[in-house]
């Protein structure tokens, strides 16, 4: 028995900011102090509050140390672990109150969250199967194989109200029932871990922090649908997730939890990992299957649907990581556990990857129906530097933006669709008043243009032409007719594209045009970028009234665009200026501004 446990985040974010070195240093330091048998160091998955990483929690006190550095380790060991004195300077500021150390789940970031999919992330050692088993791991699979019929399992999943978390929101139980209804000599379960939306990383975190729950869920799905083989298609850009998943599969096989005759039930299930080579389109289910089959990852027309003819032309159930992550909990605790969370049509919780102009960036899992305002203001801790919320982009490049007037919209499938946005895979990017919506739309569209597989005309050529129109607009060369063409092209691409990637590609443009039309018109008619972002539409000028003629700006200007006589107002040569803004930062008299 250990008297203390030190949990250190081993997710990708904290790993990048040296958590492995912190773990090594901890182990060395503990050994040096002779504490290695009293204190256990555990590398866990992601805690969610990534902006404060590397994160460390010390139990039994539950002290939440944030932004820990390797140099802090000796002090933590010496003070906290040896002498029992909490290192207050490293505590997450909100947990440090006058009287006591506030438990983590009472902090603003965590108190409105409800962790189902992420419940083991940051809690257990993902590379230790016994830790998973200790938190009821593989109990759900055992229950299915020993107490439930496949029909029972599908009913539980259906009754839970779980809908696909990858973007489509299709009812999971119904999806499983389609595959189950088809007779075939071979069926497959596929886990879509080709998470590609910019900013979204919940699937990665689940695989890194709790890989066994995916294995368990896929085996359950296999049992329910009659599949004996599964594939996890995971991006090669997720090395930690891949490594932990592969180890988890190996361990599960060694424990008899995968393979032949699981739990002596006669049910066989085997699992393979396939690495994606980085094409966003491979997150589209038919493209993903085409890729697993060894071909260029391109979508194929539906019908036939995967439930009829999927991977290797066999009936296939495909769900994404987060969807699967909910399954063991639902099976174990019953559908009511899940369908009592959330809204009428969107049950359970949803993980969002909170990013952009927000204080607490990271992963948050909230009950469906939580309002955007709660996420931004309470969980996210508001906008940095006291700036004003302008919009939130949900669903990445397939989604849309939500303007300020919809801040009280509940975050669920149907409410978001109604206002032209979507839950999507759960990317949530917050923008403040320094963001130009035309520029943002251009950014997301550029992403899909680059990622278009090139198979169908509307997506291959249409999105590119759409991007060219946006570039024309942000360059100040747009016309009012361009806006009409842009809108028409958006609807054309939505109506005509072969797969979901193309059909949703215009969403960022359409939704920003819907909610921020005046901003587009300002670019076109007035040749102005109200947010001061589009370089060709802004000018940086020196106010002669305020300029003292100190020459500081002219010395810092990287292109020599500023000239003047000392003690007289300086001027910027607009033909040379690259709008980098260094002069604005340099000026001590607030004389330079961007308009």
């Amino acid at each position: 028995m250990y008297r203390a446990h030190v949990l250190v985040c081993g997710g990708t974010g904290c790993t990048s900011s040296h958590s492995p070195e912190i773990i090594d240093a901890l182990n060395e330091e503990l050994k040096a102090k002779g504490l290695e048998n009293e204190v256990q160091v555990v590398r866990t998955g992601c805690f969610g509050l990534c902006s404060n990483g590397p994160i460390m929690i010390v139990y039994p006190e539950g002290c939440f140390y944030s932004q820990v550095k390797v140099e802090d380790v000796p002090e933590i060991v010496e003070e906290h672990l040896l002498k029992g004195r909490i290192v207050k300077r490293l505590l997450y500021s909100e947990t440090l109150t006058q009287e006591e150390i506030k438990p983590l789940n009472q902090t603003n970031f965590y108190k409105k969250q409800r962790r189902v999919a992420l419940r083991n992330c940051g809690v257990i050692d993902p590379e230790n199967i016994e830790e998973y088993i200790a938190v009821d791991g593989y109990q759900a699979l055992a229950k299915c194989l020993t107490e439930l019929t496949p029909e029972d399992v599908i009913k539980i999943v259906s009754d839970s109200g779980l809908r696909g978390r990858g973007g489509g929101g299709f009812p999971t139980g119904r999806k499983w029932s389609f595959t189950a209804a088809n007779k075939a000599d071979q069926k497959y379960v596929v886990c879509n871990a080709d998470e590609g939306d910019p900013g979204a990383f919940m699937d990665r975190s689940v695989l890194e922090g709790d890989p066994h729950c995916i294995i368990e869920a896929m085996a359950i799905c296999g049992y329910a649908t009659g599949a004996t083989e599964g594939y996890v298609y995971v991006r090669a850009e997720y090395p930690i997730a891949v490594k932990r998943l592969e180890k988890a599969i190996e361990d599960a096989k060694a424990y008899g939890l995968l393979g032949k005759n699981i739990f002596d039930s006669g049910f066989d299930f085997d699992l393979h990992v396939r690495l994606g080579a980085g094409a966003f389109v491979c997150g589209e289910e038919t493209a993903l299957m085409t890729s697993i089959e060894g071909n260029r990852g391109e979508p194929r027309p539906r019908p036939p649907y995967p439930a009829v003819s999927g991977l290797f032309a066999k009936p296939t159930t495909e769900n994404n990581v987060e969807t699967f992550a909910n399954i063991p909990q639902i099976v174990l605790n019953g559908p009511e556990f899940f369908n009592t969370i959330g809204t009428e049509t969107s049950k359970g919780t949803k993980v969002f990857a909170l990013g952009g102009k927000i204080n607490n960036t990271g992963l948050v899992e909230i009950p469906m129906g939580t309002t955007l305002r709660e996420i931004v203001e309470d969980i996210g801790g508001g906008i940095p530097n006291g700036r004003k919320f302008k919009a939130a982009q949900t669903g990445g490049p397939s989604g849309g933006c939500i303007p300020e007037k919809f801040l009280d919209t509940p975050m669920d499938y149907d409410s978001l669709l109604k206002i032209g946005a979507m839950v999507g895979s759960g990317g949530l990017i917050i923008m403040d008043d320094t963001s130009c919506m035309v520029d943002i739309a251009k950014f997301f569209l550029k992403f899909t243009v680059d990622e278009s597989c090139g198979k169908c005309t509307p997506c291959r050529v249409g999105t590119r032409r759409l991007l060219e129109i946006l570039e024309k607009i942000t360059d100040g060369k747009g016309t009012m007719e361009d806006l009409d063409t842009m809108e028409a092209l958006c609807y054309y691409i939505k109506d005509n594209s072969l797969c979901g990637l193309g059909q949703t590609a215009p969403n960022p443009v359409l939704s920003s045009y819907r909610h921020f039309k005046e901003e587009y018109i300002a670019h076109v008619r007035d040749k102005k970028c109200p947010a001061g972002v589009c370089k060709n539409l802004v000018q940086i000028t020196i106010d002669p009234e305020k300029c003292k003629g100190c020459s500081a700006c002219s010395r810092k200007c990287p292109v020599g665009a500023i000239s003047g006589k000392i003690k007289e107002p300086f001027v910027i040569d607009q033909s040379k200026c690259i709008k980098c803004g260094v002069c604005i930062e340099t000026c001590r008299f607030d004389a330079i501004s961007r308009k």
Binding site: A279, G454, R460
Partner: protein, 583 residues
């Protein structure tokens, strides 16, 4: 299968369940335009030209791949559909080279036709970034200009599916997507077999045969050259299509007349050398069959097949007949026997072959076994399409030409020679000769037709009892079918004595050098069957229907070759093969 009730453009129809909206519409008398769709070969729903509105569907659907269902209501021509198709065409044009004035496919381009039908007035509406590509002219048989490509992938599908070759595919992505070989290798560095099926599948001018017409015009205009020309069997039932004749029309006489008017010194018939091939190959077969040596014997007339064998089945090379193709045999004979007979120096003879085939261009460049060392058997190969181009360029009114006869002494071909152009034809021609040789009996009008080996099926099998011998034969056309047959032979699953293989599905009538029929025709008419029917009609109408009864053939053996399989024949009419590395 049961029928379903659907509505197309507000009218009710009962159509077979499971068919596509495209097929259902056709049954209802409505043609939905297509670009990427090639029935049973390329059904990928990529180009989006065939989109239609289906009541209740979230977006427009591709009619080519979307199956009908009970109660479905389809609008094929609603304003939304028409506007969408128009935009798709405008977008395709924005990445297209638009050199329509001089494009080889002008007038026979599926994109051009649709643009005209849909009234695309501004071909530059969506002009913007357009990727630039070098024309790949590395191969001896074709050009690829990716700047004219609309990425329908029909070429990729025929190369993969019909031909089991698969040396082209999509490279890069997004707007940079283009069709090329792996690692952007030039086509001649790949294991392309030069069959040209990709060219006839191409809806635009992105793929075309290497144009050798100028080379031939130059030879004709060179007073030092004696220019002879031969015409392959399948050209006589193909060429007419270029001049408005119904598919399968026999235009032999007009073709001969046109060639004379183009200025060729002598016009000969490859049917003659097809008969010569039968003499040699039937002899070779009977020798091997008697000795049970290197069986099955596999035909060697199709240069696409030969290249496929050299690349993919080098272990089967010993099974190949050592006979040159009819084209090669003609070339060799023209520069030896004929040159000598006419007193013309072989190097002054310029020998042109009009072929339904692009691989023949490659074959002509295999100088390794020419009859006279250092002098190619064949100097230029023109496809049926190139011949049509020359005729049009010279203002020859093809349809008004009289029917003329070939020149002697290679102007007479038998019916056995003419059916070389259809799958199973070589086999049938060989069987006619082998039968009479083995049995000593004469085939009559009743039993001369070996119908088991006729027809457009990809693989045909038959067993004949000839003079107490069981002769097991197989016929395959299309290299994917050839692959199946070879794999069965290799695994021991099947045993044959004689196999005919043609690279192109349906044989030479559907060769890569034949007139190009748009998908709208190919999807609804079996062009292989239509053209082959012309050849079988030709066979019936000819006075001589067996190669060994061709008097010119008897004459040439008497005067020059001695007997089939002689030393002289081997020097001129036989060849050898090389193992080729795939990459």
């Amino acid at each position: 299968m049961a029928n379903v009730n659907i509505k197309i453009n507000n009218r009710e129809y009962s159509v077979p369940a499971g068919i596509s909206i495209l097929e259902a519409a056709r049954l209802a008398g409505v043609e939905i335009p297509t670009l990427c769709y090639l029935k049973e070969v390329n059904e990928i729903g990529a180009c989006r030209i065939c989109v239609v509105e289906v009541k209740g569907a979230r977006s427009l659907v591709a009619a080519c791949v979307f199956p009908v269902a009970e109660g479905m209501e389809v609008q094929t021509n609603s304003p939304k559909v028409i506007a969408s198709r128009k935009t798709t065409l405008e977008l395709l044009l924005s990445t297209h080279k638009k050199e329509c004035l001089s494009c080889v496919r002008s007038g026979n381009c599926e994109l051009q036709k649709l643009c005209k039908d849909y009234g695309i007035e501004d071909a530059h509406r969506f002009d913007g970034f357009r990727p630039k590509y070098e024309i790949d002219a590395s191969a001896s048989h074709m050009y690829r200009d990716d700047e004219k490509c609309i990425l329908c992938r029909r070429c990729v599908a025929v190369c993969n599916k019909n031909q089991a070759v698969g040396v082209i595919g999509a490279n890069d992505r997004g707007i940079d997507t283009h069709i090329a070989s792996p690692y952007e290798m030039p086509l001649n560095s790949t294991s392309c077999v030069s069959c040209g099926q990709c060219i006839t599948a191409c809806p635009t001018g992105a793929l075309s045969e290497r144009d050798d017409t100028q080379k031939v015009f130059d030879a004709i205009n060179d007073p030092e050259k004696f220019v002879v020309v031969q015409t392959a069997p399948a050209t006589r039932v193909g060429l007419g299509e270029e001049f408005g004749y119904p598919m399968g029309s026999i235009v032999t006489g007009k073709m001969v007349a046109a060639l004379r008017r183009l200025g060729f010194d002598k016009v000969f018939d490859t049917n003659f050398s097809a008969d010569l091939t039968i003499m040699e190959e039937a002899t070779e077969f009977l020798q091997r069959f008697t000795k049970k040596e290197n069986l099955p014997l596999i035909t060697s007339c199709s240069p696409g097949w030969i290249k496929f064998c050299e690349f993919y089945y080098p272990e089967m090379i010993p099974h190949l007949s050592s006979c040159k193709s009819p084209m090669g045999m003609f070339g060799a004979t023209a520069k030896t026997y004929y040159a000598d007979k006419m007193g013309i120096a072989p190097e002054k003879i310029f020998s042109v072959a009009i072929m339904p085939c692009t691989a023949k261009k490659f074959e002509a460049e295999r100088h390794d076994h020419s009859a006279i060392k250092g002098i190619p058997d064949i100097d230029a190969v023109l496809t049926t399409r190139e011949l049509a181009r020359m005729i049009k360029k010279q203002g020859i009114l093809f349809n008004a030409l009289p029917d003329e006869e070939y020149d002697a002494p290679f102007g007479l071909g038998s019916g056995a020679g003419t059916i070389f152009g259809a799958t199973g034809g070589v086999m049938e021609a060989a069987l006619r000769t082998a039968y009479e040789t083995l049995t000593g009996e004469s085939l009559n009008d009743e039993n001369i037709n070996f119908t088991d080996v006729r027809g457009t099926q990809g693989i045909k099998e038959a067993t004949y009892n000839i003079a107490g011998n069981e002769v097991r034969v197989a016929v395959a056309s299309g290299l994917a079918n050839a692959k199946k047959v070879l794999d069965m032979v290799k695994s021991g699953e099947k045993t044959y004595d004689f196999i005919e293989i043609m690279a192109c599905p349906g044989g030479c009538v559907n060769g890569g050098g034949q007139p190009i029929q748009p998908a709208s025709v190919r999807n609804n008419v079996d062009i292989r069957a239509e053209r082959a029917a012309g050849l079988y009609r030709d066979d019936i109408g000819l006075p001589v229907r067996k190669s060994h009864e061709n008097p010119d053939i008897k004459q040439i053996y008497k005067e020059f070759y001695g007997e089939p399989g002689s030393h002289k024949a081997h020097e001129c009419l036989h060849t050898g093969y090389t193992v080729r590395k795939k990459y």
